[in-house]
């Protein structure tokens, strides 16, 4: 199968349309399983009581906020390198969803901070760098809307997002590099997990669910962007409408 043909918006558009329902169905199903496990199977935490259950949205949202930023920057870089329109459209489509997950990570973090630390917000390295990530997403989107010329908007926001990638490892390692109020990683690639198996499983299922959700909404947004950018994408139109247009001549 020749995958490179899908780098053309005309070929990618219908493919994305066929894929969206599958990603959406898997996302909803996994969210159902993850929420059930998180609320009914995972035990009460011996230190934090029931407040820890915020982890089942907080950690997946925070992971997605960082992951989507990196993916956005990669598409921006590919767009710059290959001068590929669809790559820039992908980067453009990822930003709002990434910003939403960053906002949710901060909000659910505040909801967790208040009962455990006694404060909605503290200026520690983890929280501050994640807030900066939100500003970066906002910057990428504002930069795009402030430039009328599409090619310049694509390139400027691509450069902005590529430079900003340095913040992602800062967020990730902030709990090791600085003495933060934010707890250290509960899941680590080197030392494994410090959580109960069912807690970890629920959290990972929610993460995969958010991942599928993101793919579905980002593909849907790319389709909107393709229609908005191309003046006459006839390939998306129903035959009856094209027939009507032809008859009107």
């Amino acid at each position: 199968m020749n995958w490179s043909k899908y780098s053309a918006p005309q070929a990618f558009y219908p493919l994305a349309g066929r894929l969206i329902p599958w990603f959406a169905v898997v996302a909803v199903a996994l969210m159902g399983v993850g929420l059930y496990m998180g609320f009914f199977v995972a035990p009460t935490d011996f230190q934090q009581g029931e407040s820890y259950r915020i982890i089942f949205v907080h950690v997946p949202a925070a992971w997605m906020s960082m992951f989507l930023y990196v993916v956005m920057a990669i598409w921006a870089g590919v767009g710059m390198g290959l001068n590929a329109r669809l790559s820039f459209m992908m980067a453009q489509a990822i930003a709002p969803t990434g910003a939403m997950f960053t906002f949710l990570a901060l909000l659910t973090g505040a909801m967790w901070g208040k009962p455990t630390w006694g404060a909605w917000w503290v200026w520690d390295a983890r929280l501050t760098s994640e807030l900066i990530l939100l500003f970066q997403y906002a910057g990428v989107m504002l930069l795009r809307t402030s430039i009328d010329d599409m090619r310049r908007a694509d390139r400027s926001s691509a450069v902005f997002s590529l430079v900003g990638v340095v913040n992602v490892p800062i967020i990730y390692f902030s709990v090791q590099w600085w003495n933060t109020l934010h707890q250290g990683a509960s899941v680590s690639m080197s030392t494994g997990s410090k959580m109960a198996a069912t807690m970890l499983m629920a959290m990972l299922i929610m993460t995969v669910a958010f991942w599928f959700y993101s793919i579905a909404v980002i593909l849907a947004r790319v389709r909107c962007i393709v229609v908005e950018r191309d003046s006459l994408p006839v390939w998306d139109e129903k035959p009856a409408v094209i027939q009507e247009a032809v008859e009107a001549r």
Binding site: S51, R53, M111, A220, C224, E237, V241, A248
Partner: protein, 61 residues
């Protein structure tokens, strides 16, 4: 399962406000995003259709 009753479940050991705000906010954000995308698609396609029909009219005259 650790819940004796529905009210115990909603109380979340006294952390109900924090837990449910977190989950509700996440659900609302996702629903809002899906709805906004659906509306964006309807608007984009209406514009595309108008351009298609309008553009053809121009060439006809």
């Amino acid at each position: 399962m650790q819940w004796g009753s529905a009210s115990e479940f909603f109380a979340m050991g006294g952390y109900g406000l924090y837990v449910w705000t977190s989950f509700l906010a996440t659900a609302l954000c996702m629903l809002w995003e899906v709805l906004a995308l659906w509306r964006r698609r309807v608007a984009a396609r209406a514009e595309q259709r108008a351009a298609l029909l309008g553009g053809m009219d121009e060439t006809a005259t």
